[in-house]
């Protein structure tokens, strides 16, 4: 390149390279312009969504919204307190069921699954990752709702857990594989048993990556609505039993958004803002806990 530019003065190019023709220069510039345009077009909806969410949501969030249950149609006020708590319960159930299983499967894939059997599990998790969430909902309906005979928080939790497992398994595997083999060998060399090495050395070294993967899976299912439609089902009142229909923030947003009432539309925006804040908050809290808490040395 520097030869053609010849701005150093010292080197005289042996061959004269003609400049790009006008057509080629114009095409080059044009394609750069097109690429910039695509970036603008892709980012525009993102900013529009966040701007609307904040603009519409902030005005509707108040103490009543965060502490009261929904009011009947036509009455102003009321809130989504039961849905916020319901979402937390469902997500807690999903995490309790899904996270250990996912991490276990990840450990299997990286430490024991370097063979044909592991390849099968790996492929199956990728396939599971692509299964539409609504189909997972049907399965949870068949597994839990049909047996219990009613919609429940447990069924919603099971559906979300099924969605979390493959994501966590694959990210955990990738993170564990990044841990150098030498570290494991050092532990073996000190006479540490294999299970102890895996948990206290390998997993701990990769802890921050594993936790990031878990939080990604969590964030992904936290906003899910489709699998909850016929598992958790939704509820307009407080419910503290895990075997009863339970409200969820995402379900409530859906119900309110497709309703014809302005008051409910307003609350749907507020609910969406709260949902996003909760997801981001949960992820940030775990990240902070990882950095300053018990796993800090990891």
């Amino acid at each position: 390149m520097s030869d053609t530019n010849n701005n150093s003065g010292a080197v005289v190019p042996a061959v004269h390279i003609p400049p790009f023709s006008l057509r080629r220069r114009v095409t080059d510039r044009m394609m750069t312009g097109v690429a910039v345009l695509t970036v603008v077009l892709v980012l525009a909806p993102l900013f529009a969504i966040f701007a609307y969410l904040i603009y519409k949501g902030i005005g509707s969030i108040n103490i009543a919204f965060l502490t009261q249950t929904p009011k009947p149609v036509g009455e102003p006020g009321g809130g989504m307190a039961n849905a916020i708590v319901g979402s937390m319960v469902i997500l807690a159930i999903a995490s309790v069921l899904g996270v250990p299983l996912g991490i276990g499967a990840g450990i299997f894939l990286s430490e024991y699954g370097r063979n044909r059997y592991g390849d099968m599990v790996r492929f199956v998790s990728d396939v599971l990752n692509g299964v539409p969430s609504i189909v997972i909902g049907i399965v949870a309906y068949g597994l839990v709702v049909m047996r219990q005979k009613h919609f429940s928080a447990l069924a919603g939790g099971v559906a979300l857990a099924i969605m979390m497992v493959p994501t966590i398994a694959r990210t955990t595997e990738q993170m564990l594989l990044l841990v150098p083999q030498a570290i494991r060998e050092a532990a073996y060399g000190l006479g540490v048993s294999r299970w102890r090495t895996t948990i206290s050395i390998t997993l701990r070294t990769a802890a921050s990556g594993v936790i990031t993967g878990v939080m990604l899976a969590f964030a992904r299912v936290a906003g899910e609505t489709a699998p909850l439609l016929f598992t958790a089902f939704g509820n307009q009142f407080w419910n503290w039993k895990s075997d009863q229909p339970t409200a969820a923030l995402s379900l409530q947003i859906f119900t309110y958004a497709i309703s014809p009432f302005d008051e409910w539309h307003r609350q749907a925006w507020a609910g969406a803002l709260v949902l996003i804040i909760l997801i981001v908050g949960a992820v940030a809290a775990v990240r902070l806990a990882v950095r300053h808490g018990t796993l800090a040395g990891a």
């Binding site: 609504i134 049907i138 540490v192 899910e224 947003i253 539309h265």
Partner: protein, 344 residues
């Protein structure tokens, strides 16, 4: 970057690992340390527990297939293959045909691909090939942020912002300029196939663009340099040196986006209009397989009705699995094949 510094997870175990384990076994056998005998038990238990977790993933898939197949038996015996070729969906008379939903799913997904693919590939090319390095991280983070927004929030935004926008500006414009094609005729409600396609496009752009980016970064640097050395402009370098090499991977990324679009439920349900009609115009309301499940599953009365819905779920499941498997294979053929070739 990390591709070169660290070994990517592979299907076949790297050789040194096996060797070291083998060596280790001999060592522990020849020198029974204090822990030697004791660790035998817990080690075995832990190993089997982890294998069980791996097995659970396979069992989960089995459970999904089992539930769907058992649940759809009734409908399968009643309608057979006709179920997928029939367009009469009438719960009152217990007549079920899934054709309108299949049509709606295919049309909305294809429409979203038409919109999303040029944009997503453009963004990926810009980020990997043109963008100043300082901007690169921020840009890819922002596009990835699009993937973190819940589907129901997209739907909410689509109902109150996108649909009015389409109704007032886009649809009248399309009707006057391209109305003769028949694709853009009829009353501009805003809600309908077009709105579903646009919101789907916005939702699948991040996945297509992030995987395309991954594929583009794997294209060896010397390919770019070689094309540049032959006197190509930057665009010619991208076209001949980068895009052509990454073709299979980009197609894989697109198919992966298609898989996501096929199964996407909430946002589509909120804007597609939910009417089981087959109509040529993209302005007309439609219905998809996922949204009929979302709307009717919890209210399905009667066993045959429920069974017909589960059969739609089964069909959706198989289609997405085939599409995803195809996509994974194509992405692998680029991201896994390339480094191996440069090593050899």
């Amino acid at each position: 970057m990390s591709n070169q510094a660290l070994p990517r997870p592979r299907f076949n175990a790297p050789e040194p690992e096996r060797d070291s384990r083998a060596a280790l076994k001999i060592e522990t056998r020849t020198t029974p340390l204090l822990l030697g005998k004791v660790s035998e038990g817990p080690d075995a238990v832990f190993g089997w527990a982890m294998r069980l977790c791996g097995l659970a993933v396979v069992v989960l898939l089995g459970l999904i297939v089992y539930e769907l197949v058992i649940g759809s038996q009734l409908s399968w015996h009643a309608f057979g293959w006709k179920f997928f070729g029939h367009s009469d969906w009438n719960p009152v008379d217990d007549q079920y045909g899934a054709l309108p939903f299949i049509y709606g799913t295919i049309v909305s997904s294809l429409l979203s691909l038409v919109i999303a693919v040029p944009l997503a590939v453009g963004v990926a090319v810009f980020i990997t090939e043109m963008c100043p390095i300082a901007l690169r991280g921020a840009l890819s983070f922002t596009t990835e942020l699009l993937a973190a927004i819940p589907s129901v929030v997209y739907g909410l935004w689509a109902i109150f912002v996108l649909v009015p926008l389409l109704r007032v500006y886009v649809q009248p414009f399309l009707a006057t300029t391209l109305g003769w094609t028949g694709l853009f005729s009829g009353p501009p409600y805003g809600i309908g196939m077009l709105a579903a396609g646009v919101i789907l496009a916005i939702m699948i752009i991040p996945i297509i663009s992030s995987i395309t980016r991954e594929v583009l970064t794997v294209v060896p640097q010397h390919q770019r340099e070689a094309v540049l050395a032959l006197g190509a402009t930057r665009w010619e370098m991208i076209r001949m040196g980068v895009l052509r090499n990454a073709r299979a991977g980009i197609v894989g990324a697109i198919i992966l986006g298609l898989g996501r679009a096929l199964g996407e439920t909430m946002a589509v349900t909120m804007v597609i209009g939910n009417r089981p009609d087959i109509s040529k115009s993209l302005f007309a309301p439609g219905y998809t397989m996922a949204s009929v499940l979302a709307n009717e599953f919890s209210e399905a009365t009667g066993d045959l009705y429920l069974s017909a819905l589960i059969e739609i779920g089964l069909a959706l499941f198989f289609v997405t699995i085939v599409v995803n498997a195809l996509a994974r294979l194509m992405v692998w053929s680029v991201t896994r094949g390339q480094p191996a070739r440069s090593v050899a």
